[in-house]
């Protein structure tokens, strides 16, 4: 049976206490949230932190609230809570699209949005989703809070802007009028990581696309922020020709590798096709009365 290497365990009772522990133990410490990325890695000895700081009792980090024109989602919000949140589905159908295909119910009962983003695995669905939504990450440390964009948050595979002695506390999703969004994923079996996936979020203003965001998963790092395709979309009128062009640009701007899930060529093809599909659905959803996506199936 696989067992992690020995470590010390600390259960934080407040964010301040968690930060204090992270500061005290420095490089040796890791936060544990759902543990569904970290514990498997520790069992395989791919990670061996000396101290785990458990944040599961920090209920203040488990919240979903509309504040002004932002949906604020606490870092400890579980996949399941996101999937069941009517507020999330109403404003961000892309999140529900993705959550339906992230892992399986027992994993979704534990895994958190904060853990997903901080794991920074290039296959992470919520990283692509939050990238497309131009989400903001709130990072707290001893000196207070700082807010970074998703582009700055993800610095490379398994690397984020969260420094030693800091933690992610909240994710903020901008609520935009006339917005539509969608996520498309191809996996080998139910609950599996993506072979490739694409998320699109945009708004429609006077028949033209504005504020376009595109995120890809599992097709190489750096695919999370796709300037070229976003520039192409912004200001354009939706059309099949535009979707085709966007798919082509998206597939050119990613860097998939051949592995057990498929060849690089196949994944590039998927990035193209899934971007088109997500775009088509995001446009169809945009401008519709809020909440009407629930009846689409």
């Amino acid at each position: 049976m696989q067992v992690p290497a020995s470590f010390d365990y600390q259960r934080a009772e407040s964010v301040d206490e968690a930060l204090e522990l992270l500061r005290r133990y420095g490089e040796e410490a890791r936060v544990v949230a759902g543990g569904h990325s970290l514990l498997p890695m520790m069992k395989l000895r791919l990670a061996s932190p000396e101290v785990l700081v458990d944040i599961n009792d920090l209920h203040e980090l488990d919240h979903i609230a509309l504040v002004g024109d932002e949906l604020r989602v606490g870092a400890l919000t579980r996949h399941r809570t996101l999937l069941e949140s009517e507020l999330v589905g109403r404003y961000f159908p892309i999140v529900h699209d993705a959550e339906k295909v992230i892992a399986d119910p027992p994993v979704r009962n534990r895994g958190t949005i904060g853990g997903s983003l901080c794991q920074a695995d290039p296959s992470e669905d919520l990283s692509a989703v939050c990238g497309a939504l131009h989400a903001l990450a709130v990072i707290r440390g001893a000196d207070g809070e700082r807010i970074v964009s998703m582009a700055d948050f993800h610095q490379g595979p398994y690397e984020t802007a969260v420094g030693v002695g800091e933690m992610l506390t909240e994710v903020r999703l901008p609520v935009l009028p006339g917005a539509g969004s969608a996520y498309e994923k191809v996996e080998r079996k139910a609950g599996d990581w993506a072979v490739a996936a694409a998320g699109v979020a945009l708004t429609l203003r006077e028949g033209r696309i504005a504020d376009a965001g595109v995120g890809l998963a599992a097709v190489g790092a750096g695919a999370l922020n796709l300037h070229a395709v976003q520039t192409l979309l912004n200001g354009s009128e939706p059309s099949e020709a535009l979707y085709e062009e966007a798919g082509r640009v998206a597939s050119e701007s990613c860097s998939p590798v051949t592995d057990g899930r498929g060849s690089a060529e196949y994944k590039r093809h998927l990035a193209d096709e899934l971007t088109r599909r997500a775009l088509r659905r995001a446009v169809a959803r945009a401008g519709r009365p809020i909440g009407s996506t629930a009846r689409e199936a």
Partner: protein, 160 residues
């Protein structure tokens, strides 16, 4: 570390290492071997138990993280000689072959029915989608949970 975990309604206090997994705490320390373990990689769902009423993979939860929470294992499904409707359903509909996946499947079925007494076939399939049956008896597992839904509304097994 000294921890107290509530398992099947009783508090159990033990001295454990932080790296001790919940599945081992249940099987080795409490000798509740009804909780099976298979892949050890968080993939097969054999080790599913209920934590505060919801299915979790106990090979991917530290025992220390379960402290202060309520764990329910397959041993708690029957009430004395009276089987939970889900257990009865597995008998009526031949829901098990080798029995390896059965405890986890029954617990996920129980958790689903506690929340949704009348699930669709799709909802049942979704609820057990993280759990592998090596004997691939899915059809009868789904039928077993359907049987429990039809016959178990007033049964004593459900705790909520």
């Amino acid at each position: 570390m000294r921890i107290t975990v509530n398992v099947n309604g009783d508090d159990h206090t033990r001295e454990v290492e932080p790296r001790h997994l919940l599945v081992r705490f249940l099987r080795d320390d409490l000798e509740l071997t009804g909780t099976h373990w298979g892949c050890d990689t968080s993939n097969c769902g054999t080790c599913v138990v209920l934590m505060d009423g919801e299915p979790v993979k106990s090979c991917t939860v530290l025992a220390v993280m379960a402290a202060g929470h309520e764990i329910r294992t397959v041993e708690d499904l029957a009430d004395g000689d009276r089987l939970d409707p889900v257990q009865q359903g597995f008998i009526e509909q031949h829901g098990l072959q080798c029995g390896f996946c059965t405890p986890g499947m029954m617990l996920s079925g129980r958790a689903l029915l506690d929340r949704n007494p009348d699930p669709s076939e799709q909802e049942i399939r979704e609820a057990i989608s993280g759990q592998l049956c090596r004997c691939t008896g899915y059809l009868n597992i789904v039928r077993s949970i359907q049987w429990a839904a039809r016959n178990g509304h007033e049964a004593a097994g459900s705790q909520t």
